[in-house]
Each structure stands twice: as C-alpha cells, then as structure tokens.
C-alpha cells in the first residue's frame, strides 16, 4: 500500500496540539525554519492509564537517544509508536519540559495582558491543559520526549545541549501501532541556552501507511522490539 497524505498543517511556536493518531496512520513532523523543538507524550486512547513509559523505552532498546528503528513503549509492554523515518539521528528522551518557573527565570515574564498571543508560555502547563480536554489530570503526565533536540550525556553523567542540531527540512515520522492520543507542544527545549524567547514552528503531515511487515526495520531493530510488536498485535486480536 502506498502511503497517502490525509492532511497537513503548520504549528506555530509555543503551540499545543493533540490528536488520536489511528493505528495504520503516521505523523511526519518537519522543521520549517531550523531549531524547532517538539515536546511529545503518548497514551493508549482506549485506556489512557496505559501511557508512554520512558524507562521501558530506554532499557528495552539500550538507548538514551531516539532515532529511526526505535519504538516508544507503553508501561504495558506494547508499542505506542514506531520511528519509521528520521533525518537527524538523535531526538532527546531525557530532559523533560519547561515549566513556568524555568520560563520566567530564563526569558522573563511576558503576560497576555501586555503581549496577547506572544505571551511567554511553558510546556508543562500546556500539557496539563491539553490533558484536561480528555479528562486527564496532571498525574497522568509521566514523561515527555523532545523531538528535534539533542542532549548528550558525557561520561560523568552531565547533560549537554547540542547547538544547531535541527536544520530547515529536518524530519521525523511516527507510525501509530495503537490508537494513540498524541500531545505535542512547540515550546523551546528546557536546556536550550538561547536567552531569547523564540519558539519555532513545525509542519505536521498525517498520512495512511501500511502495517509493519515481518521485516519492518522497527520490528528488526532489536529482538525486544520483535516481542513488543507481537504483544501489540495480540492486543488487537
């Protein structure tokens, strides 16, 4: 089956977006200007107590970065999304997201009353608001990843944000392996040292895609992923 585009839309900087990405569809994200950051978290839409589990994702694949072939595990041993395509080779799973205190300290407060929709927003509060639209509470947010950003862990454990990582046209594509509530936020990465408040846009493309075959690169990435796909497929039997 050829993939076919269902729709496209652009998210401005500091935007929050959500969608139930259906099994059999994929979401491509494309950096429009370079230097974007997209915080993302994931739930099984049918039972949102099943959600993205960061440690299970890292230890099942022996990774501290996300790239093509990697999958995003839920806490129930199933795969929420697979990374089918990636032009960057590194997306950050470790650093979490900005909160109001971090944004105020780094960029200064800019309130709606003076700045209208250019006010300074933070990622965590916007995740909480978007979750509430699905009846979910702050306790439902366990962790997020940061697409388009790279944070290197040195031998001593220290975290280092890589400058100029994502360029215009960089892309990553997530295939839904379940019916996945995807929540995205385009606030700046919490470790981005740029002192200027300048969140960047991202292009979203939702498309139909073929089911992963027996030789799918994400399935073959590690033996663990083979079992993860088996358990995910059993869920739909």
């Amino acid at each position: 089956m050829e993939s076919s585009i269902l729709w496209e839309e652009a998210l401005p900087g500091a935007a929050t977006w959500s969608h139930v990405l259906k099994r059999g569809t994929a979401l491509r994200l494309t950096d429009l200007e370079g230097g974007t950051n997209v915080g993302a978290t994931f739930f099984n839409f049918e039972n949102p107590t099943e959600r993205f589990n960061l440690p299970d994702t890292l230890k099942a694949q022996h990774i501290a970065r996300l790239t093509k072939g990697c999958v995003l595990y839920s806490d129930m041993g199933r795969i929420l999304c697979s990374i089918m395509e990636d032009s960057l080779g590194w997306h950050d799973p470790l650093s979490g997201c900005s909160n109001a205190a971090l944004v105020n300290k780094k960029y200064g407060e800019a309130r709606y009353q003076q700045h209208r929709n250019q006010w300074h927003q933070n990622s965590k509060d916007n995740f909480f608001i978007e979750l509430a639209k699905y009846g979910l509470r702050p306790r439902d947010l366990a962790a997020n990843i940061n697409l388009f950003s790279k944070v290197v862990v040195e031998e001593d454990g220290s975290l280092h944000f890589a400058m100029n990582h994502s360029t215009p046209g960089s892309f990553v594509e997530l295939r839904a392996e379940m019916n996945v509530l995807v929540i995205l936020n385009t606030c700046q990465h919490p470790l981005d040292p740029n002192p200027t408040y300048a969140p960047k846009p991202v292009q979203l493309t939702v498309k139909k895609v073929a089911a992963p075959g027996p030789d799918d690169p994400c399935r073959m990435f590690r033996p663990e992923n083979g079992r993860g796909f088996t358990l995910t497929e059993r869920y739909f039997l």
Binding site: L54, P55, D56, L58, K59, A60, R137, V153
Partner: protein, 219 residues
C-alpha cells in the same frame, strides 16, 4: 556536581526513631516528616532499591526523574542532589551517600516489560511494579496506577555513553553502603526491594535492605 560525591552521615543507629528491614522482593510504604532524615542501607551489597516519593499532602506532586536530572544537569544521583517533583518542588535532598552513584533512568521492572526484554514467558516472575501497586493499594483509595511514575533505583548502575547507549551493569554498591536523604516537606516513600532475576541489577540474588528514620536535628 562530582561523579561520586561520597559523604558519610554523622547520625548514629541508636538514635533512629524508626528501624526496619525490608526483605528481598517486598514493598514498603511510609511517611517521612519535613526535616526528618531517611536512610536506606544496602545490607548485603548490589541490591537495587526502586523508590518513589510523593508530597504527602498531594500525591499528584510526585518525584520526577526528568525534572530532577534536568535541574542538576546530570543523570546520576548522589550527595547534593535535590529530588524535584513533577510540580517543581524539592521533595528531599541527598545528604549522605557512601555508594556514590544512583540511577533514575532505568525505571522499575514489570511483568509486562520483562516479557519484552527477556521472553514472553517471563510474565509471571515477581516484579517491582507489582510491588509498587501492592504498596499504594494498601495506602488508600485515592491511589492508583496513574500515580506510579518513573522512579529512582538506589544502588543501581545504569551507565549512559556520549553515543547515546544505555546499559544495566554490575552494581557499584557493597554490603553496608547507604544513602541518606533529608525531607524538605512531608513526603510519602514507596519502595520495591527489587526482585529482578533476569539482569545484574541485583547481582542475580535479591537481598534485604534496612530503612531508618531520624528526627530533625538528631545526630
């Protein structure tokens, strides 16, 4: 922050107000008051102690691995590490550590993740997330699975490389090593004394730990 900020405690065992052994594979849940000190002792060495902390008065305000590592700019926990909550508060501070390094990326083992990591037939082995659930279910009606987020693994060694690889390695801990924390607010601690037998996190032999509490300003 140094890689291994080794620091001993001045508090003596005889002045502790609470002293309990948690057997291998058991769960433990207890409140620690603001200002109290909480020590976990690895009695026999190389035991992973999977631990969650909550604001005792608001369980949605809970330990956050991502906020903690980002705020200190380092993935390893040791003396001086402040444990941040999901709502940006400091729950506890590590004030003594004779092991030198603790993990917060490896998470807790689970029946479901064991199926993925080792074999689908491993579903029925004892696992930490079952112990976490047992602990919180006995604590109160308001607690459920959604309150179990990503934990600390005291005494566990999960190195990450600059190339982005992550592995579970033999522990750095030995018999008698301990970590001690000061509660910066009233907190609830939930421990699973890890029963994992499929990797070296417990040296393939889960063993007991000892937990102690001291009142504020007691040496």
């Amino acid at each position: 922050m140094p890689v291994a900020a080794l620091q001993t405690s001045t508090r003596e065992l005889r002045t502790a107000i609470y002293d309990k052994v948690v057997e291998a594979g058991d769960s433990f849940i207890h409140e620690i008051k603001q200002g109290q000190f909480f020590r976990i002792v690895d009695l026999e060495g190389n035991q992973a102690v999977d631990t969650l902390f909550y604001n005792a008065h608001d369980h949605a305000d809970r330990y956050s691995a991502q906020d903690t590592i980002r705020e200190q700019g380092n993935i390893y926990l040791t003396t001086g590490t402040r444990l941040f909550s999901s709502l940006g508060n400091v729950l506890l501070t590590i004030v003594a550590d004779t092991c030198g390094r603790h993990d917060t990326l490896g998470g807790a083992c689970a029946a479901e993740s064991n199926m993925v990591r080792y074999d689908i037939g491993k579903r029925h082995m004892h696992a930490c997330r079952n112990s976490f659930l047992k602990g919180i279910l006995q604590w109160g009606q308001e607690f459920d699975k959604r309150d179990i987020a990503h934990n600390i693994n005291f005494f566990m060694n999960v190195p990450v490389t600059p190339e982005g690889k992550l592995t579970f390695e033999d522990g750095l801990s030995e018999a008698g090593k301990y970590v001690e924390l000061r509660a910066e607010m009233d907190v609830l601690v939930v421990i699973s004394n890890c029963p994992q037998l499929n990797n070296p996190c417990n040296a393939y032999n889960p063993t007991p730990i000892r937990v102690l509490i001291w009142d504020a300003n007691v040496l």
